[in-house]
């Protein structure tokens, strides 16, 4: 029931934050209306990183405590993280076309990093499907999730250098809004969007976690049922024949 209330709160804040970002806040002097894309873009990117961090920490938790609830959190983080990563990329592209003139700006480190994140975690989700046994799946996925998370800062760092060492000319970056020199109205709108998306994220994480638990519980029930049926049938092959 509490989760349901959280869902309504999420819906309300997301609608409100979207309305403010689209219709209330004035357009940016340089970027015009395209700057409105920044708000959900930055919020999505932040939640993508948060999700993948949660997945990695849950992986460590599973390896440490061997409690399958950790794995349910891990899969929730990965799936929702992939979704927000896709949103961040889409937002970045829609912003890039009017501002940079191209959908894909290779010199923007964040966009490139995000694309690699998408590849890393789509791989993680595909990989999860290949193991039937819940515990073995949790172990293998935990390891892949941890190594992927370890890779993220290196990816970010290297892409940043790639641009930085390459040439000193700075280009406009999507999260220029975070600049301390930005007008407080813009910062406020961004924070509002961040908060609204984070509440929605929390709601989705809880629901996805419940789904993962239910799936495992159903798998487990089938396994126990088969095991008990085998025990009840007894060792003698003649009975069955």
């Amino acid at each position: 029931m509490k989760t349901r209330i959280l869902g309504f709160v999420a819906l309300g804040t997301v609608v409100a934050a979207t309305a403010v970002a689209l219709f209330v806040v004035a357009p940016d002097l340089n970027q015009g209306d395209a700057q409105r894309i920044m708000y959900p873009h930055v919020a999505s990117a932040w939640l993508a990183y948060l999700s993948f961090g949660v997945t990695a920490i849950s992986g460590i938790g599973w390896l440490w405590k061997r409690d399958l609830r950790f794995d349910a959190v891990a899969v929730a983080g990965a799936e929702i993280g992939v979704m927000f990563t896709a949103f961040a990329i889409w937002g970045g592209m829609m912003w890039g076309r009017p501002i940079w003139g191209v959908y894909w700006q290779w010199e923007d480190p964040r966009l490139t990093t995000t694309a690699l994140l998408l590849a890393l975690y789509v791989g993680y989700l595909l990989f999860r499907r290949l193991t039937d046994d819940p515990e073995r799946r949790a172990t293998r996925a935990a390891i892949v999730g941890i190594v992927a998370a370890v890779d993220i800062p290196i990816v970010h760092f290297s892409v940043e250098w790639w641009r930085g060492l390459h040439q000193t000319a700075t280009i406009a970056s999507p999260d220029r809004v975070l600049d301390p020199a930005a007008p407080p109205v813009f910062v406020g709108t961004l924070l509002g969007m961040l908060g609204a998306f984070t509440i929605a994220w929390l709601y989705l994480m809880i629901r996805r976690y419940q789904l993962a638990r239910a799936e495992v519980a159903r798998e487990e029930a089938v396994r126990i049922e088969r095991l008990m049926a085998a025990r009840a049938a007894g060792p003698s092959a003649e009975v069955a024949r």
Binding site: R66, R226, L227
Partner: protein, 256 residues
């Protein structure tokens, strides 16, 4: 009974009646892709016993041996080897268990001697070179020591895999169909090995269909059928029926 000259590594095992049981399992179960290969096995094997694991194909013999060898982890239930829990003390169990599987685990591109030398390095066998030579002689492969395993027959591969076990110092030896693919001479070597392990106080659990041949070498028998214990007979071996009511505690929640 054949007289043995086979060299089995010394491991100070103590008097059999003062050692913990070699194997004790409780409701041990393992599922593959959702279907139980081992449905719930509770057995006990006393120290220094040679026990045969009998039963039709698909009865769970190989699964039980693989579980005890630590190659695979149990889905449910628990197992203790030499008083050490299989999932909690896996490293210690590995030092005490040797396992001959259907696959020989040999490297085709290495010679027989190189294969054993690698195993000796992995076991940290003291006096490695001498022990490798000795093991090759004990399994009757000393004249083929410099040949690559790729050219070996199935029987020779099996002999070499048996020789590898002699390089460790196990207190429990698990053999899956040790007689399969062997010629008369090879089968005699397995007989000799069983005697040597018995004399050294090493427990042996072997899955086999060669019941007549084994009869004089055995202490007891465990018959598996459909993933459960169907019967137990002989000395130093016992079993309990699997627990039925309620839900068994998942192995992973207990493990580690």
């Amino acid at each position: 009974m054949p007289q043995t000259t086979i060299y089995v590594s010394p491991r100070s095992l103590g008097a059999p009646d003062r050692r913990p049981p070699s194997v004790r399992t409780t409701d041990l179960a393992r599922l593959f892709a959702g279907s139980p290969a081992l449905a719930g096995v509770s057995i006990q094997v006393e120290a220094a016993r040679t026990i045969a694991l009998l039963g039709p194909n698909g009865a769970g013999k190989t699964t039980l041996l693989r579980l005890l060898s630590t190659v695979i982890r149990p889905s449910y239930g628990s197992a203790v080897v030499d008083g050490l829990d299989l999932t909690r003390n896996t490293d210690l169990v590995r030092e005490r268990v040797a396992y001959l599987s259907h696959d020989t685990g040999l490297y085709d591109d290495l010679t027989a001697r190189e294969n054993l030398a690698f195993a000796a390095a992995m076991y940290g066998t003291p006096d490695g070179t001498a022990r490798v030579d000795r093991a090759l002689r004990d399994v009757g492969l000393d004249d083929r020591a410099a040949d690559r395993v790729r050219d070996f027959s199935a029987g020779m591969r099996k002999r070499l895999a048996l020789g590898r076990i002699l390089l460790g110092s196990p207190s429990l030896v698990l053999l899956d169909e040790p007689y399969a693919a062997l010629d008369t001479e090879g089968m005699a070597i397995v007989d000799e090995l069983l005697v040597a392990w018995r004399e050294a106080g090493v427990s042996v659990l072997l899955a086999s269909h060669a019941t007549d041949r084994l009869a004089p070498l055995l202490d007891g028998r465990i018959v598996l059928e459909r993933g459960l214990v169907a019967a137990v007979s002989g000395e130093g071996v016992g079993s309990a029926p699997p627990s039925l009511p309620g839900v068994p505690a998942p192995a992973a929640e207990v493990a580690r």
